[in-house]
């Protein structure tokens, strides 16, 4: 994402120049949409989310500190919006481990664990992986999830993640590490349950 929104463009947008603001939207829409989609994972609300984020951007523009880069600032508004939405979600849009049938869960878990798949570029069953990945991400705390998406999925540096989230770099790192630990813990819990079940079956 280029961070080339000049002060002239920003000043013009603040003064009510619609084409100038439309140009800002054009430059940052893809980045905002990518972050929203990868965090919320719900395309049906996507367009509304982008609209709402740019409304917040327009309203907050007069408070924008011209000394700071515009890209991280706009993404901070997007990430705050995503965190708000995650907190408000009352119903899960994706199935959790507990919702999967035993056979489905076993098949997916085994695939995710097997080492030979780590370095491969193709995934046998991307839809199944995605479903599990989303269900695991859904269980993360909103702030950890946002940090995890920015760092792991979008591949940003910790400095960039910290700027977007408006926190010190060490806080951003702690959130990502905790998110990884939470995800792994949840996954291990399931594996342990499965292995326990298998052992019990064998004992019988």
């Amino acid at each position: 994402m280029s961070d080339s929104a000049g002060p002239v463009l920003i000043e013009a947008a603040i003064k009510g120049d619609e084409p100038a603001f439309a140009e800002l939207v054009r430059r940052y829409q893809a980045a905002v949409w990518g972050a929203v989609y990868r965090t919320l994972g719900n395309s049906s609300e996507g367009e509304d989310a982008v609209q709402e984020i740019f409304l917040r951007v327009l309203v907050s523009l007069p408070r924008f500190d011209r000394q700071l880069p515009f890209g991280p600032w706009i993404l901070r508004i997007a990430s705050n919006y995503c965190i708000d939405q995650l907190r408000r979600r009352k119903t899960r849009k994706y199935r959790l481990w507990s919702d999967l049938t035993e056979a489905e869960a076993e098949r997916i878990a085994n695939k995710m664990v097997h080492k030979p798949d780590v370095g491969s570029t193709t995934v046998e069953d991307p839809a199944a992986y995605l479903e599990v990945a989303r269900s695991l991400l859904d269980q993360l705390k909103p702030k950890r999830r946002m940090a995890f998406v920015l760092r792991e999925i979008e591949g940003r540096s910790y400095a960039a993640v910290a700027k977007i989230l408006g926190v010190p770099e060490v806080t951003a790192r702690v959130r990502v590490w905790r998110a990884r630990a939470d995800l792994h813990q949840e996954f291990c819990r399931y594996l342990a349950k499965q292995r326990g079940g298998t052992r019990n079956e064998k004992a019988l």
Binding site: G16, E18, P19, F21, A22, E23, L24, V25, R26, Q29, W33, G34, Y37, R38, G41, S43, G46, E47, V50, Q51, F54, L55, R56, V57, L58, V59, S60, R63, K111, M112, V113, H114, K115, D117, V118, V123, P126, Y129, L130, V132, A133, R134, L136, L137, V149, E152, I153, Y158, R173, V176, W177, R180, L183, H184, F187, C188, L191
Partner: protein, 152 residues
């Protein structure tokens, strides 16, 4: 062994020195827990990353026009006032409401006289009435206390 498992995040973030990195790579080759951890995370990240967001139908001009239409409505303005510091705004609003309804207790700092009266009431309520100088300044009471607190 456990110490090396703790390096997992640093390794993943490229924060280890070249020597530590080599050490961890030999470790991960034999540690099943770290292998599962790495494999699981790689699969999870890859599956979400590979899912490209669908194209947006709204053109930037339309998004901008709708934003300008909505930005002057009172609810948007009110929320924009609240949003920068939600915790402080909520706290301020709460304090304002409580003070309006007179729920907050009035806070008054007692002087030396007040403290003395309180202490005396606690120890011996009957003693206060006879001896304590009434209506004096804090300095006068301090002098009276230094002199032993006897009756005038």
């Amino acid at each position: 062994m456990k110490k090396l498992c703790d390096w997992f995040n640093r390794y993943r973030d490229g924060m280890l020195t070249p020597d530590q990195q080599k050490q961890f790579e030999s470790h991960i080759a034999v540690c099943e827990e770290c292998q599962i951890r790495a494999s699981f995370l790689n699969h999870l990240v890859r599956s979400v990353k590979e899912q490209e967001p669908p194209a947006l139908t709204a053109r930037p001009v339309m998004v901008a026009a709708r934003a300008y239409e909505s930005c002057n409505s009172w609810d948007v303005q009110f929320l924009s006032w609240l949003r920068p510091a939600p915790a402080w705004s909520t706290l301020a609003a709460l304090v304002l409401l409580l003070s309006l309804f007179g729920i907050l207790p009035s806070v008054s700092l007692p002087g030396v006289s007040g403290e003395y009266e309180e202490l005396m009431m606690e120890s011996d309520p009957g003693r206060l009435s006879g001896n304590a100088p009434q209506g004096e300044t804090d300095d006068a009471i301090m002098t009276w206390l230094e002199q032993g607190g006897s009756a005038k």
